[in-house]
């Protein structure tokens, strides 16, 4: 029990570090896709630091790696932070986000960034490609899993539902997907623009093994992923209720936080708050020892 608690604390600390670094990058740049980058922080931390995904920073195209397809490609910056922390490329390179000639574009690009498995950014496309990769692995008898992250606003795209239908038809249990259900999209709340309603039921009704969790709770993420990994017949969808802008003082609870202009003051406050959080977590971890 204590070990599990400690693991969660360690991951919460890691997630705070991921937020710190990502917000520094946005601060440097003066703008960015803050909201949706923050809401997937726990999930990406769990996937990469929590022992869920298989990967090798020294061999990024390793045959036996699990794939991550970030269909909501605008959350690239958080993923870049994690890849850099893991040594896929240097931490210093994070500063080049969106600069001319960079290898770190605003949206994920498999040809530019070491460790990025798929090019995304135009919403709605990632699930189809994830299905293709999963089918390819199955044909080759490979055990690799494909992890896929789609946005909630993205689920308004028709192609997502074409793909949802087909993944279930093919019984792709090597595909584990997440919806980052942060309930907001560029223009406002999803419920006001084109309501997605009960997403878990929708995916279940399409034939997926569908679960619904708190996407900021590591224990729930691990439990859901474990159940998904045990599922043998159906693709898995984990609908994660999240908060857009989570953990960022100037973005959390703000309506228009999809893409934001970030002032120096914003960044100073946000980083200070995260440093405090880091201190608290460190103390708690010590208490656990």
């Amino acid at each position: 029990m204590q070990r599990a608690e400690r693991k969660v604390l360690e991951l919460r600390k890691k997630a705070t570090e991921v937020r710190l670094t990502t917000l520094e990058v946005f601060g440097n740049l003066g703008f960015g896709h803050v909201g949706g980058s923050m809401s997937v922080t726990e999930l990406l931390t769990a996937l990469y630091f929590g022992g869920i995904m298989r990967y090798d920073p020294k061999n990024p195209r390793w045959e036996r790696r699990d794939w991550l397809i970030m269909s909501k490609g605008h959350a690239g910056p958080t993923l870049y932070t994690i890849l850099a922390m893991l040594g896929f490329f240097s931490i210093n390179e994070l500063k080049t986000l969106n600069q001319g000639g960079t290898r770190l574009p605003s949206h994920c690009d498999r040809n530019l960034t070491t460790g990025i498995d798929m090019t995304t950014g135009s919403l709605g496309l990632g699930m189809s490609v994830a299905i293709g990769v999963a089918l390819g692995h199955r044909l080759d008898g490979k055990k690799n899993r494909v992890y896929l992250i789609v946005g909630d606003g993205e689920c308004q795209e028709g192609q997502v539902w074409e793909a949802t239908l087909y993944a279930a038809h093919k019984g792709l249990s090597n595909l584990i997907a997440f919806v980052d259900y942060n309930h907001q999209q560029l223009d406002g709340y999803t419920k006001d623009i084109n309501d997605l309603g009960d997403l878990r039921s929708k995916f279940e009704c399409f034939g997926w093994f569908a679960q619904e969790i708190d996407g900021h709770d590591f224990t729930q993420i691990f439990d859901a992923v474990r159940s998904a990994q045990d599922e043998k017949k159906r693709p898995s969808m984990i609908v994660m209720n999240t908060i857009k802008g989570k953990g960022c003082t100037y973005a959390e609870g703000v309506l228009k936080n999809h893409h934001m202009v970030v002032s120096e003051e914003n960044t100073r406050e946000a980083l200070a708050c995260l440093h405090e959080e880091l201190g608290r977590l460190e103390a708690e971890i010590k208490g656990c020892m």
Partner: protein, 326 residues
């Protein structure tokens, strides 16, 4: 390129779709990377035997063209060699973003086959009649656009495509073509084929209008007009050298395509000419019109693509050439 022209041009006994299906079966047998995707048109394409022979490597997604191309891109990322088919307008218009981003921009390798080009959509009518497919595919960076003219060419191109990387659009007549090339001919993608020598004017044609163009050349020969005919089966990248050579040597050009004259073969040739050696030029094709229902011979007249129309354009361009040289 090793080409032998057919001695007499007559309708082939095998439909293009049968060549497509049998060639892919052969390729799939020798190369396990080959996979096939379709959007509920396996029957129309004669691909049911392929599905029976290779059920694990056949992905009929149902009526979802965008998903089909996305899945094909994913299969390509996993090391497979996907061929994805639907009718031309659906394979292109309905799947454009998947083709553009998941395929081309992601530098993956999908061979997209769009059947029933232009007026050959016939009884399916305007909704199914692509006069725009080559144009919108031509606008995607790195995309190669091909319009094979007969079974021999189709077979050779399919064999080549298995080992080529990148994105390809193959505009495919499903039914009986008129034979232009002998079996065993091989072709260079990006190079046009000089079918017939001539000195007064060049007709540059693709697809079903190659046959019409050759008829015109023969008929005008009796009237003392020497017409060169080129089969430009690669619409992109276009054979600029050959176009320039024809402009220099014949001084007038007529393009013939079963497609909108905007952004297809005619545009590609015009672009090459204007940047190298502009000469009088006329374009056969849909004059920015929608398709409509009817038999092919009716539609050929309706869109002014037949031999008589081509002949008129040839005479018109010759008149312009004469005026130009006083």
């Amino acid at each position: 390129m090793k080409i032998k022209l057919a001695r007499d041009r007559k309708p082939e006994e095998t439909m293009m779709r049968e060549v497509y299906a049998s060639t892919l079966m052969e390729l799939a047998r020798s190369d396990e990377r080959v996979v096939v995707l379709d959007a509920d048109l396996m029957n129309s394409m004669g691909m049911v035997p392929f599905g029976e022979a290779f059920p694990d490597r056949t992905f009929n997604v149902g009526v979802q063209e965008a998903n089909m191309i996305g899945v094909a891109a994913g299969l390509s990322a996993a090391g497979k060699v996907p061929f994805a088919h639907s009718f031309g307008p659906f394979a292109t218009r309905k799947a454009y973003d998947a083709t553009f981003i998941s395929g081309a921009y992601a530098r993956l390798n999908v061979r997209i086959v769009g059947s029933d080009p232009g007026i050959t959509a016939a009884y399916n009518g305007g909704t199914h009649m692509p006069f725009e497919d080559m144009g919108i595919m031509r606008n995607i960076p790195t995309m190669t656009v091909l319009e094979p003219v007969d079974g021999a060419m189709l077979r050779d191109l399919l064999i080549q495509l298995v080992d080529l990387e990148g994105m390809f659009y193959i505009r495919l007549l499903r039914r009986f073509p008129v034979q232009v090339y002998e079996k065993g001919s091989t072709f260079d993608i990006g190079k046009g084929v000089l079918l017939r020598e001539g000195t007064d004017v060049t007709i540059i044609a693709s697809g079903i209008l190659v046959y019409e163009s050759l008829k015109v050349a023969e008929s005008l020969e009796h009237r003392g007009v020497s017409v060169r005919v080129v089969n430009l089966f690669t619409i992109k990248p276009v054979d600029r050298e050959l176009i320039e050579m024809c402009a220099r040597e014949t001084g007038a050009i007529v393009t013939c395509e079963n497609h909108n004259v905007i952004n297809g073969l005619g545009s590609a040739v015009a672009e090459a000419l204007v940047e190298n050696l502009p000469v009088p030029m006329e374009r056969i094709g849909s004059q920015d019109q929608f398709g409509e229902v009817g038999p092919v011979d009716y539609l050929m007249k309706r869109y002014e693509m037949g031999a008589e129309d081509i002949e008129n354009k040839v005479l018109k361009v010759l008149e312009r050439k004469k005026r130009l040289h006083g």
